[in-house]
């Protein structure tokens, strides 16, 4: 396959040409309530070509018919030439890479009968349904894939990557008369069959939580001291800061560059944030990004100060910085754009525990789990799965509908204590940007305390 790509690149008349071909084998099983929805095996394949000419823009082609590859290289070149640019697009230099990067399959999912996958998911689904008669509905899904990706460009890079993934998730819906609540568990790993075998207890816990939330009051709206658990703190840093550190937001925008000047203080000295695409065995982990750049651990905030950002080759060249291996595409249907990989808040150096965070809070909220988050850069939301009131330094009653309204400049700076209990949260789902969803990412964080944050609700 590499030869076929190399031949196509060689016949290209463009100044820069890259070709990516993917072949993805996947299987999926889904239950809804007691009923099986589907059990299927799929094969998806296609190619992507991107070319650049001096004084011109990007020409892009994606296609499912690989026989068309040479024709698509020609089409992409025509498209590039139709886009005239006064200021040329430059790409930061990357040494040509040649490698076969095969990630650990940890039990190759392609060799496991579909019936076994159905049985596994049946176990987890039954665990949720068995918790209470109040669990009226469930959604359980298992999905695995092994994706083969070939990448060749006109600068001599030639890569083959084998990327496995497995995701098991379940939603339990509890209902009592008119009120409906849900609990959500999701496990996503860049691994295989062996890694998803023993999760019944987790699925029982989320079903029980859906039941418990039926009796919980809505949180009252207002500004509170808030403690985020590891999972929500991870989503928080992804939304609050991660997206701002993606250089495609600043590279063409002088005002944004000024706002995000390296060296600016964003938090107190306790705050350290980074993104590590090279971390071992995580869902956002890749040896190379989709421009053939090796991934790395990139420091973004060090002791509260902005020290770095995430780059593609184009954004790095424009800002005179180095590519960080963050150009990613969700599939051959899309171009690579600047994305996060595994984003984290580093554990506090003082070894603080949960008690140190909660001890002096008179009235506050302990926000746990994550239904999701979204950012509009300065302002962002992150939705907890559930929460507890904090009263006089203690975790008190369960509350529901806990949604935090964040502000980049205020919320980050109000993080005053960071615990030492760091974990990676290996969730399914993914990140969406520019029409590309879901991109596998991981977030990691310890418990984090925010002096004051806004929570929506009746006031």
């Amino acid at each position: 396959m590499k030869d076929r790509l190399a031949a196509a690149v060689q016949q290209s008349r463009a100044d820069y040409t890259e070709v990516r071909v993917e072949r993805t084998w996947s299987s999926a099983v889904a239950f809804r309530g007691r009923r099986l929805e589907t059990a299927t095996v799929s094969e998806d394949q296609g190619g992507f070509v991107r070319v650049l000419n001096n004084g011109c823009g990007w020409g892009i082609a994606s296609f499912t018919s690989l026989d068309e590859l040479p024709a698509m290289v020609t089409r992409a070149n025509e498209l590039s030439r139709a886009v005239r640019l006064e200021e040329p697009i430059r790409l930061a230099d990357i040494a040509p890479q040649t490698a076969d990067a095969v990630l650990d399959l940890d039990g190759d999912v392609r060799g496991i009968p579909l019936a076994d996958k159905k049985s596994l998911l049946d176990r987890y689904n039954t665990a949720m349904l068995g918790v209470s008669d109040l669990i009226v509905d469930t959604q359980a899904s298992y999905r695995d894939e092994v994706s083969e990706v070939w990448f060749v460009n006109s600068e001599g890079t030639s890569l083959y990557q084998l990327r496995p993934e497995v995701v098991v998730s379940g939603t339990a819906i509890g209902r009592r008369n008119g009120s409906i609540e849900k609990g959500l568990e999701s496990i996503g790993l860049r691994k295989g069959w062996n890694s998803v075998q023993d999760f019944e207890p987790q699925f029982r816990v989320v079903a029980q939580r859906a039941v418990d939330l039926l009796a919980a009051p809505r949180v009252r709206g207002g500004a509170y001291p808030v403690i985020l658990d590891n999972e929500l703190a991870g989503v928080f840093i992804h939304e609050a800061f991660g997206h701002l550190s993606e250089a495609d937001f600043v590279y063409e925008n002088p005002q944004a560059r000024e706002m995000m000047t390296l060296g600016r203080r964003f938090g107190k000295p306790v705050l350290n944030v980074g993104d590590n695409g090279a971390a071992s065995g995580l869902r956002g982990t890749l040896p190379y990004d989709d421009e053939g750049t090796p991934t790395q651990d990139t420091a973004l905030i060090r002791e509260g100060i902005l020290v770095g950002r995430l780059h593609s080759r184009e954004t790095a060249a424009k800002l005179g910085e180095r590519p960080t291996g963050n150009a990613r595409a969700i599939s051959f249907r899309h171009p690579p754009i600047v994305r996060m990989t595994n984003t984290y808040i580093a554990p506090g150096k003082l070894g603080a525990g949960f008690k140190d965070l909660i001890g002096d809070i008179k009235l506050g909220v302990y926000a746990c789990g994550a239904f999701g988050g979204q950012t509009m850069l300065e302002n962002f939301s992150f939705t907890a799965g559930w929460g507890y009131m904090i009263r006089d330094g203690q975790v008190a009653e369960l509350v529901k509908d806990v949604v935090l309204a964040g502000n980049l400049f205020q919320t980050l700076d109000r993080i005053d204590t960071i615990a030492g209990d760091f974990t990676w949260n290996q969730m399914g789902g993914g990140c969406g940007k520019g029409g590309q969803f879901p991109l596998p990412v991981t977030e990691g964080a310890p418990h984090v305390r925010i002096e004051e944050a806004l929570i929506g609700g009746d006031v």
Binding site: T40, S65, L79, A82, M376
Partner: protein, 447 residues
């Protein structure tokens, strides 16, 4: 392709249906006011569903020359693990299909240069020194063929075009983002592009000044874009799937008046000129409109073939399927209408005023145009709570500026019981047509 696949399936399985779709997209992207990229995308795929020994299975492929025998085999293997179901495959002849225009030559034949010109015009009209402007123009041409072993066939071509504008204005540490789009099956005319420009300018102009948000249970005007958080719970609860599963709060409430009696909502796949309109659904069921809410009463839930079979009712023609996976329920075009007279409706001319003429009597409240995090949380319960993305304060009937660092919360079912007013600004936003709605007693929290 469909015919030879179904011919092979006959005799091997009890029943089968299939969908073949080919899509071709052309896109141009302007970044920070400059044309940066042009791209094309071509994709074709085949999705097969079989019922074998009473059990259902599916398989799909994007291979250029698909091995039909292998596809059939995979669907069969899927069916061995599948549930039993008695699907009522439609057997209507193509003659009974409603003829609606889905394919516009002007859209299909528009050259790359034309798409670029359209984007350039928007960039020029909206350029401001303190703003960054991105424009994306995307044209799609699709061919769809559906069929089943009961003899039904459906085929149509469709075009679609989306022109999206987003503007970011950064002043110091203040970030303002304004987004709008034109989406249609036919190319936008000058007037459509002008509407887009005016819409963006109006919202940008009113947002330059930042004011303190109010607090309390307040009247809030949700613009057509801002309505998403209120509409989403209804869309979930009116799906035959959630009704069947027992998780819809509207289950068993058909015919009951649960909403303001002026509110009517329909799903209409036969609306001319919309990209999601179609003569037949993805399971070969002829298209027709479904009244979801009629004068405040819960109307009909939407179904595909499988959920209809399990609920012992008929499909409403809301079957949707991709290349992989099995068919599922999907809405087409959702239209909000004010029942019992009034001037709202498709084709009403736009008014550019923010709030659709609903703010005159608002003493202190908000206009909400965008909320952050819609769709996350416990949507079907009706409860929502979101920070504002783009919202304006209204005082004594006037817009006084943009508010930040505020969060709105409420319950969609409660809020829609009494609608304070329907705006005169009905418009399409993607696949939804609605005016602004004034809703009373929305919780607004601030820092």
């Amino acid at each position: 392709m469909i015919d030879s696949l179904l011919a092979r399936a006959r005799g091997k399985v009890d029943n089968a249906d299939a969908l073949w779709r080919r899509q071709e997209q052309t896109a141009v992207a302007f970044e920070s006011g400059r044309l940066k990229a042009a791209g094309i995308s071509e994709e074709a795929g085949l999705n097969l569903r079989v019922v074998a020994n009473g059990r259902m299975g599916v398989a799909g492929t994007t291979a250029a020359k698909p091995d039909l025998e292998a596809l059939l085999e995979r669907a069969g293997a899927s069916a061995e693990l599948g549930e039993t179901v008695e699907l009522a495959f439609p057997d209507s002849s193509p003659a009974s299909l409603h003829p609606i225009p889905t394919y516009f030559d002007r859209t299909a034949n528009a050259s790359l240069a034309e798409l670029i010109r359209m984007g350039k015009r928007l960039v020029e009209r909206l350029a401001r020194p303190d703003c960054q402007i991105n424009v994306a123009v995307e044209r799609e041409i699709a061919e769809t063929a559906v069929g089943n072993t009961a003899g039904a066939r459906g085929e149509y071509r469709a075009t679609g075009i989306a022109v999206a504008v987003d503007i970011t204005r950064i002043a110091g540490d203040d970030v303002l983002m304004v987004y709008d789009q034109y989406v249609g099956a036919d190319l936008p005319g000058d007037a459509d592009l002008e509407t887009l420009v005016r819409s963006v300018e109006t919202r940008l102009g009113a947002a330059l000044k930042v004011v303190t948000p109010p607090e309390g249970a307040l009247p809030v005007v949700f613009t057509p874009a801002g309505l998403s958080a209120v509409v989403l719970p209804l869309e979930q609860a009116l799906s035959g799937k959630t009704v069947l599963q027992g998780s819809s709060p509207l289950a068993g409430k058909v015919g009951e008046t649960l909403f303001d009696n002026r509110l009517s909502i329909i799903d209409d796949p036969l609306t001319p000129g919309r990209p999601l309109s179609r003569p037949v659904d993805d399971e070969c069921v002829p298209s027709r409109a479904t009244a979801l809410v009629e004068h405040g009463k819960v109307g009909r839930f939407v179904y595909d073939l499988e959920t209809a079979a399990r609920a012992k009712t008929q499909s409403t023609g809301n079957g949707r399927r991709g290349i992989f996976g099995k068919p599922h329920i999907g809405y087409t075009n959702i239209l909000f209408r004010r029942g019992g007279g009034g001037t709202d409706g498709v084709g009403t001319r736009h008014t550019y005023a923010l709030g659709g003429g609903l703010i005159d009597d608002v003493d202190d409240g908000l206009i909400v145009d965008d909320l952050i995090g819609v769709g996350q949380g416990n949507v079907i319960s009706g409860a929502f709570s979101h920070p504002v993305g783009l919202a304006y304060r209204v005082q004594r009937g006037e817009i006084t500026g943009r508010v930040k660092d505020a969060a709105v919360a409420g319950n969609a079912y409660e809020l829609l019981k009494k609608i304070g007013g329907f705006g005169s600004d009905g418009r399409w936003l993607g696949a939804r047509y609605s005016p602004s709605l004034l809703l009373e007693g929305v919780s607004v929290a601030r820092r």
